[in-house]
Symmetry: D3
Subunit: 136 residues, 6 copies
């Protein structure tokens, strides 16, 4: 295991501790274990681990880039979770997604908000369950 990988895993644990196991057994890791390793080493071990920008700012970069590109649903969801872990509030994340409408258009912003609705709502789980059941 490279130092870069170890450094990357440390970052991954700070961003989303509960996701690590899932990633390790994911479909990409099964097909291309070296690429799954590189996807830790370069983004997290090389870039996120650098001192020049705090993790909160790095998660703003991630969410804004991914929402603007508009075709990276799973990554956007992961980084919205990570952003909450490093201290961004749901209200701030919603503001970030709204702002991407300026640069990438309304559909990009609306679809990002809509597809991550469950991660951004303040609704308590019981309410959500009722709503899905059509009783809300």
């Amino acid at each position: 295991m490279s130092e870069r990988y170890i450094r990357g895993i440390e970052i991954a644990e700070r961003l989303a501790p509960e996701k690590l196991d899932q990633f390790a057994t994911s479909r990409v890791a099964e097909l291309a274990p070296d690429f799954a390793r590189m996807a830790i080493e370069f983004p997290l071990g090389d870039l996120y681990a650098r001192d020049g920008l705090d993790l909160r700012s790095r998660e703003i970069v991630a969410i804004a880039s991914l929402a603007a590109l508009g075709n990276a649903g799973p990554q956007l969801r992961n980084h919205i979770r990570a952003a909450a872990t490093v201290g961004l509030t749901k209200a701030e994340i919603i503001e970030i997604l709204m702002q991407t409408a300026i640069y990438a258009g309304f559909p990009a912003a609306l679809n990002a908000l809509s597809s991550c609705h469950d991660l951004l709502t303040d609704e308590c789980p019981r309410q959500a369950a009722r709503r899905v059941a059509g009783q809300g």
Copy 2:
């Protein structure tokens, strides 16, 4: 003049005071004055003016989105200037652009850095002039 426009102009002055006049006489304003107005009202008057996210974070959103999209050169340059005005250091802006390589690829990040080199270098103007003249 709408309240939204006035609010937008106030933001514009905080982000890039010296650019306002230039904008007002720009080619877009000449062709489509209503659209030049809307480009203040919606992005600045409606979104930037909101309380939910500080201007430093908003400029990170702008730079990351624009670099990831990769075809918005003039806007990227304006927001790199604005980011410096609201307190991001050049080193931080460089980190943001580097990080977009993760999401949008190396060419997007390399071309953003290269095309904004003059705004991000610490070189003093005399050195730059010498270098261009081939003496450096």
Copy 3:
């Protein structure tokens, strides 16, 4: 309620009267009611409401832009419905989607046609039901 909002809602009613309620209770409106309002005010209240271009032409702009971008499925569906409401025939909408292959490639055009098949077919509902049930 701003004048822009009222003007936008009037346009929305002309484009897709039966969709308004659904929008008002949508997941975006729940998370970000201000953004749901802005998504009426700016696109419809500011732009669609202008005199300079008829609604039929505006719906051609919407469908062509959204099909070319290729990652705005829900919006493409809404505007295909709206286009039919303001007088474009299904055959014309199919021509528009075919033409986007020139500018954005075959996959963009094929996937737009395929994902909106149900909105563009002339099949009567009973036939469609049979086909889905494997009897057609």
Copy 4:
């Protein structure tokens, strides 16, 4: 020469008669004469030549798609010229470009307007010359 090519050339002459010669001697035709031929046959001979949509509507499709994609400068310029030839007014073309801000963001719309300013302004040539010379 295929029928499709002849049909395509007829369309090209209706859209932009003065551009045909220039195209025939262009850099693409020099490198890849078969592709220059295909670029007439498929877009113009196969699609534009069809009866299902009038040329005015087809030019709206072209301008909206190209402005939304944001990286097809030369083609956007050609189709803005063609749009004027088939009867769209400059004011209508400006409305189309403004509207693309909804779907593709403000930079796409602003840069399309700015880069085609010379084709869309009503300024007479003498005024333009004065303005460039700094006397206007």
Copy 5:
């Protein structure tokens, strides 16, 4: 039937013989039979049929372009099947998808690998069934 169509169908049979019927009855062919024909004539009859590049190389072009664009799922799947038919190994196809991370970012490469996992794994069907059933 045009010569181009016949030539295109011959290529289609070499690339993916078992897919032809399915295509002919697809939703696009139902809505827009002329466009389904063009989607054989131009890509396959005009370009793939040319001598200048072998089919193995053409499938590398297809997979790399489609993975980089990131919003053409069905076409990427078809061309991964075709690539295997013309002699690319699964390991080579995985390398191609990994490499697109350089140009289009990690999400494009990861999502391409993940969404085509079933086409690229060497797992025997019995193992796959067990894994899905949660017994593996």
Copy 6:
């Protein structure tokens, strides 16, 4: 210097020996020397250096991805040079660029061919000089 960097530089020398010095003194290296190093380590040291795909195929991946994305001019030019170095003929590179029209549209393919015309023509330098001088 990491092993990955040394491995990457060896690849860079095989792809484009004469470009290395230029890169080392480029504007990106000046602003962000760590990123210039990473742009060797990850793309070349990690991916290109792998055994699973020959360099000729890797250059097809590069050219197809970059032409399809359509906003990476300098990288497309570098990889067209590299492709010629590892054995692709100019005629094959032209076929690759033509084929990207299928997936990314005609403008992407036409602009790639046009912007790399000087690298792909067989014209001898003297002819080119005459043509530029208006004598050809």
